[in-house]
Structures are given as C-alpha cells and as structure tokens.
Amino acid sequence: MNRRKALINLSLITGGIFLLPSCNFSDEKVTIILNKLQITVEEEKLLREIVATIIPEGEIPGGRSLEVHNFVWVMIDDMLNDKKQKSFMNGLKMFDPVVKEQMKNSFMDLSENERLSILKDLLNGSIKEDKSANKKDLKDIRGLVRAVKYYTVWGYMQSEYIMTEIMPYQLVPGTYGSCETIETNKRVNING
C-alpha cells in the first residue's frame, strides 16, 4: 500500500477528520518542471525506476544516480510531437496495469530480475493482448519502453559523469592526431 492510499484509509477509519482539499493530499510534488506534459508524482517515480532498470547501478554509476530520468522527461516533453506524446503518456498510464496482469505485482514492487524480464518481454513483443490490454495500449506501452530506452542511452552516454570520468570529451583538443595507434588495453572512447 502506498503512502497516499494509507492516508486516505486512515482518514476513513478516523471518521473523516481530515477534509481532503484535493486528491493531491500527499505533500510529495513532481520535482521536474516541464513545458507541456502534465505528470503525476507516481508517473515520475515509475519512469525513474524504468530508467534505473535499463541502466543499473554498479561500480560505474547508473541511470538513477546520474539522474538520466530528468533528461528523458525533457526530451519527451520537447522533442516529441503531440501525437507521440499522447501515445507516450497513454503507454505510461497503461504500463503498470499490464505489468500487474503479467507479473501479479506493480512494477515498483518487482525484483530487479522481474523488472528486466517484463521490460524485455515488452520490447520484443512477446506479450500479446488479453483482457487487460488492448492492441493500442500494448503498442503505446512498447513505444514508451523503446523511447525511454533510447533517451536513457543518449542521456547516460552524454552525462557529465560519463563524458568526464569514463570517456572524456575534450572541449579543446589542441591537436589533430591524423594516424594514432590504438592501445588495445584502453577503453575505446567514443568522445575521443
């Protein structure tokens, strides 16, 4: 049970001593400021978890600690046309119901392996429509996962951390090496 539900239940039990001013009873707010998209705290959290699953933490930080989800939101907000945004938001809305149908649990409550497995299934199209999901929703959900993965990869590789610590980008190279010899034991630097 999440915090908001718990509070609502609490208010019911105590005979409604809280007058709920709106559905936004929780003091949690969406942390990112977007131009067009209207998103909820839950949607923001869900996307953060999807991003964190696509590129997990480890010795080298992953999508969560590099806050790649913020980049994903910015790009969805500014780069997609209205139609694609609609499809994306529908995909996001229908994502958890379909996950629950398949995995018996909300995405937030799944283990890392379960999360990976459902994302893979959604990406490769192995989930077919059934009573909980119609064709259009599945298409939107798959589109959502693809878009999130696409922008996650991009935002991750072009994060300050990766571009300074792992594959340094030189703003001022100073010289042009016209025919350098590859050092085979060194990590290939896509920004080199």
Binding site: T53, V172, R187
Partner: protein
C-alpha cells in the same frame, strides 16, 4: 545605432558606405577605413561582438538541455532554417528564423541567412579554394552565361592579399585547376585520406587529386594574426558557435575589429537598407535610405562610394528596390537582367563506404576541414554529356561500434565497451550549376515585409545538366572507391531543394558588355559607376569552389579601384 546625430546631414555623410557586414562587407570596411576613408557599415541585424556574444562557445555537450538538438516546436516554426546543419541548439541564434523574414518560393528554395554583425561569416564552412582560368574561361568556352570580364591573373594578387590576412591552411599541391596560394601549414590528411590520395593518383595517372581542403584556419601563429588577436586552431570543430581563439576567419574576429581600430569605421546595427538613392541630376548614387529595424524610422546616409554587400540575394533586392526616374526597374538595370542568371551549387549527392585497412589506427581531435577533390571532369576539354563538373569533399573516420540491444547490466556493458569497426569514408558532391535567364529572383510587388520592402521571389531549379552530373558523380566515385578497395559503397541523392549549399550567386553579374551584364570588371554597375557589388551577386558563373574567398578578393580589389578612382 551608433552615436550619430541623425538630424545633421553632415554627420550622416561619409566617404564610403558599405551595405552589410558579412564576409565581403567586412573586407570593404577594413580596406576603406585602413585607407583613411570615413566608412559607414550598415548591418540589418543585431551586433555580435567577437567572444562577448558567443554564448555557447565554451559549453560542454551535457550543458545543452537537449544535447544539441532543436526542439519540436522550434522545428515546426522553422521548416526552412531547421534543414540547415547550422541550425542546432549551439548555433541557431546565428540563423534567421523563418517567420521573421519571409520570402516567396516560386519553386522550393531553402534560403539560409544570418542577420547580425558578421552575417554568415560567423557560421560558414570556411573552405577557401581559389578559382582558376579553367573557371573564368568556362562560360566563354562552353557557351553559357557571358564571358567573365576578368581572368585569373587579375585576381591572383588579390587572392594573395586577402589570404595573408585571413590565414589559410593548405598545402602547395601544384594543381593548375586549383591554384596554390599563400598558405599556412595544411591540416593533415588522416591515414585513410592519405591512402586514398595515393590510390587515386595511381589509378588515374595523376589526373585526379585528393588534397587537404584549404580552409580559413590559422595553423601557425604570425605577427599579422597576433595583431588581430587571433591564434592557432585548437581542433575543437565547434566553429559555428564563434571561436574564442579567433582561429577561423570571420568579420567579427578579424576585419570589423581591425577596421574599428583605425577610428574610421562607424557600424550601425538593426538598420535595413531600403534602397540606394540615385540623383538624376548628378547622374550618380548619392547615398542610401535606411529603415531602423526597431522604430521603423527612415534615415538617409550619404557617401560618394557605395558598396553593396548585403549577401547575394539581398543585394539583388536592394538594387531592384532602388527605383528612380532614370532607373524605373532597379538601379543599373537598363538591360532588364538584374535578378536573372542566378545559380548555386548542387550539393544533393553523397557517397559513403567502408575500408578495412589500417585496423590499428584511429584519429584524435576534431579536424575542421576534410579532404578535397578538385573538379576533374571537363577541365581541359569537354569530355562528357554534361557541361562543367563537380568538386567533392572526402573524409574518413574510424567507425566505433557501440551495441545497445541489451537491457540492464548487459546494456551497460555494451555501452561502456565499444569496439573499433572499419573506417567510414564519405564524399559529397559540389556541382557547378549553369546560370540561365529563367533562373531568377524578383520582387513580389504584392507582398511586403514588416518594413514595407517587397518580398523576394525565388524561381530556380535543377536542370537536366545537374541530373546528369549527379549520375556521373555516383559512377566516377563508385569506381574510385572500388579501385581503392572500399566496400559497402552506398550512394544517396537527398533531393534537397537548392539553397542548403548556402552558395546562392548571381543576379548582378559581371561582364564586359553593359547590354548583357550589370557590373564591369571592377564590380561597378555599368550604368552607375559609384555603386559596387562585390558579394556573391556579382558572380558570372559559379564554378565548383566554395566562393567566399573569391568574394573577399574581388572586394579588396574593388576597394582599391574605388579609392584610386576617387583620388583622380
């Protein structure tokens, strides 16, 4: 606007007026103010000061909110500008927005402009190849347009003159059809470019050449550059943002501040030239009528010498809009040819391939030029079923393979451990197009812009000659690539409309005969000799070379002529 008392006619009178501060206008500003002439440069856009007004120049990729991309809304609002490779998050502020400056496309034409101090010299591709007599004699030999009134020997000293000041990196290649100049050390070809150079020379018995593209970058510090406050190229290849080192040439980093230092230059911004004022009694132009872009007030400025350097099509607009009793169809337009015989460069065709040689090598840094292949078709004689020919770029870069089909830890491993693939090579065609009478620009008398100036109408297109040339480019380059052992050869005709080459030329062409041309061999209007046009509008034919260097040389030469003439 600069501090001019516009109520006083005396204060609005100069020795020379230059319309436009782009690559050619900047040169006129420098030449005149150096020679002691009180010079007024009129720029229609805002001021952009070297370094101070380069907001993105030192930004890292991750500091751009959209990592360099243009948002959907901006793209939707700017269908034309967003086709240009310059119109990205880091340099879009130097490109004219579609809505602000509309024009009429009788046929599709993507007009990419830069309205600010420095104009498009801020965002140009910096390639600087000289023309040769195989270009100047082209129209005469092949029977199109009119004969150029000048030959290479007329311009050669002026090429040298501007090159020494601009700073041109290049090698002495000894190719008659692409004359050598005053070069700083050339930027090195990489292993594959060098390899291809050798293969092409061997396979075509030295009749085709791959060289390092000559470019307006400083590769060696010299006193003349230090005096300009410019220094050696740092291989950032972020030029279109404005260069903090002033390594590539722009009006902003070079000619304008140089002219400013003489104390003889007055630069006014946000000032749109409506027309050149012609005095029927004096039988010459006396000044220009200017509209303040913001207040829309009009002011007249006066000078005995007027240089029109507004940028090819805009120079045409100004002359067409300069109507008087003597010139009812536009200044100098006695023969009705003003705005006609415009042309451009055909940049539609690209070819790419891979090469599996040099597996142990790669490149570092970012070279701001590429290899260059001068025209090899129809140079010494007509030999194909089309007229003229094409030059081409050639560049090679080691491909990096970064798989991303996994998810989770697997994806992370893939992303962080890319591998080297084959070398990728590519060429793009730069085709000469033939100026024709029906290729024309004109004023739409029914539509005016915010300032009451008629909108430009553009009516030009590719022709059969261009299509044949594209076919030949694909055939020849496929053969050259195959002979060099390149594989996975792919040709691509992107069918782009004319314009994205940003090499629109002509409309006020030079020629010997006032009946068939607008300008004489000194770039003076035949019919109004104190008005000079030395930007792309003056071009009689287009050749294949990137034209800006020629505009600069023609400008310096014309300034010299104007000053000598005025002293007589």
């Amino acid at each position: 606007m600069a501090n001019i008392n516009i109520d006083s006619k005396k204060q609005r009178t100069f020795d020379a007026i230059v319309i436009g501060s782009g690559i050619s206008g900047g040169w006129a500003a420098k030449e005149f103010s150096e020679k002691g002439l009180k010079t007024l440069v009129i720029e229609r856009g805002r001021d952009v000061k070297h370094n101070i007004d380069y907001p993105t120049t030192n930004m890292f990729p991750w500091e751009f909110k959209h990592r360099g991309r243009i948002t959907e809304d901006i793209k939707k609002e700017n269908p034309i500008a967003s086709k240009s490779y310059i119109f990205k998050e880091d340099a879009a502020h130097f490109v004219v927005k579609d809505k602000e400056h509309p024009y009429v496309q009788e046929k599709a034409f993507d007009w990419i402009r830069g309205y600010q101090t420095g104009g498009r010299s801020l965002i140009w591709a910096r390639q600087t190849q000289r023309l040769s007599d195989y270009d100047f004699e082209g129209p005469l030999r092949d029977g199109f347009a009119v004969d150029w009134p000048i030959r290479y020997k007329d311009l050669a000293p002026w090429y040298s003159y501007v090159e020494k000041f601009v700073g041109i990196a290049g090698d002495l290649d000894g190719i008659p059809e692409l004359p050598d100049g005053e070069f700083l050390p050339g930027m090195k070809l990489n292993c594959i470019e060098e390899y291809f150079k050798g293969e092409v020379a061997r396979n075509y018995k030295n009749t085709r050449h791959v060289i390092s593209g000559r470019c307006a970058h400083i590769t060696k510090n010299r006193d003349i550059f230090i005096k300009q406050g410019r220094s050696r190229c740092q291989y950032r290849n972020l030029c279109e943002r404005g260069c903090p080192f002033g390594s590539y040439f722009s009006s902003n980093s070079s000619t304008i501040p140089w002219a400013m230092k003489t104390g003889n230059l007055t630069l006014i911004n946000n000032s749109i030239v409506h027309s050149v004022i012609y005095d029927d009694q004096k039988e010459k132009a006396t000044g220009v009528l200017v509209i303040d872009a913001k207040t829309k007030e009009t002011v007249e400025y006066f000078a005995p010498i007027i240089f029109v350097n507004a940028g090819s099509f805009n120079s045409n607009i100004i002359l067409l809009n300069s109507k008087s009793d003597r010139f009812p169809n536009g200044l100098g337009n006695d023969n009705g040819l003003l705005g006609k015989y415009v042309a451009f460069h055909n940049y539609r065709a690209k070819i790419s391939a891979e090469y599996d040689g040099f597996p142990d090598n790669f490149t570092t840094g970012r070279k701001p030029t590429s290899g260059y292949i001068p025209r090899f078709r129809n140079v010494f004689k007509q030999e194909t079923n089309f007229l003229r020919g094409y030059a081409a770029g050639f560049s090679a870069k080691r491909k990096i393979i970064q798989k991303s089909d996994g998810i989770g830890q697997e994806l992370k491993e893939q992303l962080l451990n890319p591998t080297f693939g084959n070398w990728r090579v590519g060429s793009h065609m730069m085709g000469e197009t033939i100026p024709k009478e029906k290729s024309q620009i004109s004023l739409d008398e029914n539509k005016v812009d915010e300032w009451g100036i008629p909108l430009l109408k553009v009516d030009l297109d590719y022709d059969e000659n261009d299509e044949k040339m594209i076919k030949d480019f694909f055939e020849q380059f496929t053969e050259m690539y195959e002979k060099a052992g390149f594989t996975k050869i792919r040709t691509h005709d992107n069918k782009q409309a004319p314009g994205l080459d940003i090499h629109e030329m002509g409309g006020v062409r030079m020629g010997k005969d006032p009946k068939t041309s607008l300008l004489n061999k000194w770039n003076q209007l035949h019919a109004c000799k104190n008005v000079y046009v030395t930007d792309g509008a003056c071009m009689t034919s287009t050749s294949t070379q990137n034209p800006s260097l020629t505009y600069m040389a023609l400008t310096a030469r014309a300034c010299d002529h104007a000053v000598k003439n005025s002293k007589k």
